[in-house]
């Protein structure tokens, strides 16, 4: 079958992009294959693992549960778009590095995008809220303890940056309480 294609235009990480895609092209595949942004990882392709999460108009969505044609005219932020223009890592990225919030790194882009959006809405989460925020993302390496720690640490880094951009990092947090069974 010679598939019908559609022209789409969207902004990805602030840059206007265009692609010609069949209607069934998932946004995740469009980002990776048509636009060459392989930071977005594809795990389960049915919305369970969260690895492919990107921000659509600032809100986290599963890019494997959206067609690229549906993103036409919208703004998409991938993990590549989190760092500042000069390459300074996003506070969430710094916190994941600092707290050892990743091991193999496959799930990490999904966590980073979800947590970046979550902290915009809730800049001072409790540990319980942090845990709920990442409830839709699977990690097979870490056991989540350091990821939760990284969420709380990222919140600290954001707050510190908000108070005084020149200020040094606040002292890292101590160990967080044990994970709920």
């Amino acid at each position: 079958m010679n598939e019908e294609t559609h022209e789409i235009r969207l902004r990805v990480n602030g840059v206007p992009r265009a692609a010609t895609v069949p209607a069934r092209r998932l946004l995740s595949d469009c980002l990776r294959h048509d636009l060459g942004l392989t930071g977005t990882h594809v795990g389960c392709e049915h919305g369970v693992c969260g690895a492919c999460t990107v921000l659509l108009d600032g809100r986290p969505v599963r890019s494997c549960l959206m067609f690229a044609v549906g993103a036409d005219g919208h703004e998409v932020t991938t993990v590549e778009g989190l760092a500042a223009a000069d390459g300074t890592p996003h506070p969430v990225q710094r916190a994941f590095r600092e707290c050892h919030g990743l091991q193999c790194g496959f799930c990490t882009p999904g966590f980073l995008t979800v947590v970046a959006a979550f902290l915009e809405e809730n800049p001072e989460p409790t540990e319980e809220q942090a845990r709920e925020a990442i409830g839709g993302n699977l990690c097979r390496c870490t056991g989540y303890v350091n990821i939760v720690r990284a969420v709380l640490r990222a919140a600290e880094l954001r707050r510190a940056a908000g108070r005084d951009p020149q200020a040094g990092d606040p002292a890292p947090r101590g160990p967080v309480r044990r994970q709920r069974p």
Binding site: M1, E3, E4, H6, P22, A23, R24, L26, D29, E45, H46, G47, G50, T53, L56, R59, P60, V61, R62, C64, L65, M66, F67, V69, G70, V114, E132, A133, G135, G136
Partner: protein, 301 residues
């Protein structure tokens, strides 16, 4: 794990959407949030020849609250309905249920009306609509009708919508004054489908005695199942009402099935325990609602 090919339609008016839907008939499928449909396509469990994307119909992206209750348009995402303060004040059960729908990221995209017509017997919002006695507005190129929740569900993943009909709006009626609600469920992990879920509603009369007690069940029957449990607790004040008896009554009236997640026996046990828990919480909420709406007689002078 890639969707099969389909013809894509992106109408910009409701009339155009209905025309396409009328033409494609059983070969057409509406795409709103896609959080249930796209997994089915990715897994090749569904292969509609035509997808009609209604995401450009901004007129359907609305939540309206009035004296009658809350009307949710077909394009209102779960997250938007959940965040709507006036909707939550009018009908607390909406937010109580929405918080249990999958994960926040899924709720950012999935629509409440889409979930209602998907008719998954493990989904929360069909139980909410059924418990409140709500309805769905369906339109087609040939007309419009309203279907009550009680008539909407035919079987698992099957509603009474005709192939040419689009569900444009869900109507959640405001419960009677003196009503409290609660939604409790047990899932293996947060955000998973519940092994058993119970939405409960308790109405107290002017003497603070139980006048209505109903519960809706998910994952317990092929369709959302509503039970009237008033006979176990009728006329009792909430603090002495025997909600455990209501739980036993519910268990006797439910006939769940085994599956890979739980045995029928375990589901029945959960239903009994969760019924009592949900009714108790709903009764407490009803007391709170009455306390907030009228002056405390002890303090009146």
């Amino acid at each position: 794990m890639k969707p099969p090919p389909f013809h894509y339609h992106a109408p910009t008016t409701l009339a155009d959407a209905l025309t396409v839907l009328g033409e494609t008939g059983p070969h057409g499928k509406i795409l709103a949030g896609g959080q249930s449909l796209i997994p089915l396509l990715n897994m090749r469990l569904a292969a509609p020849a035509h997808l009609i994307d209604i995401n450009r119909l901004a007129e359907l992206d609305r939540v309206d609250v009035d004296d009658g209750g809350v009307r949710v348009g077909a394009l209102a995402r779960h997250a938007r309905v959940e965040a709507d303060r006036s909707a939550a004040e009018a009908i607390p059960l909406l937010r109580q249920g929405l918080r249990l729908v999958a994960h926040p990221v899924i709720r950012n995209r999935g629509t409440t009306v889409g979930s209602l017509v998907h008719a998954d017997p493990s989904a929360e919002m069909p139980a909410v609509l059924a418990l409140l006695g709500g309805s769905l507005d369906l339109v087609s190129a040939s007309g419009r009708r309203t279907v009550a929740a009680a008539d909407l569900y035919v079987g698992p993943l099957e509603s009474c919508l005709r192939a040419d009909e689009l569900a444009v709006c869900a109507r959640f009626p405001r419960p009677a004054p003196g009503t409290g609600t609660a939604f409790v469920e047990i899932a293996r992990r947060r955000g998973d489908y519940a092994v058993c879920g119970v939405a409960a509603l308790v109405t107290l009369d002017d003497d603070l005695r139980v006048a209505a007690a109903r519960a809706a069940y998910l994952s317990m029957a092929p369709v959302p199942h509503v039970l009237d449990l008033i006979e176990a607790v009728a006329g009792r004040p909430p603090d002495t009402a025997d909600f455990a008896a209501a739980g036993r009554l519910a268990r006797g009236r439910l006939d769940p099935e085994d599956d890979i997640h739980a045995t029928a026996e375990y589901r029945a046990h959960l239903a009994e325990v969760l019924t009592a828990r949900a009714l108790r919480e709903a009764a407490e909420a009803a007391v709170g609602a009455l306390g907030a709406s009228r002056p405390d007689p002890e303090r009146a002078t």
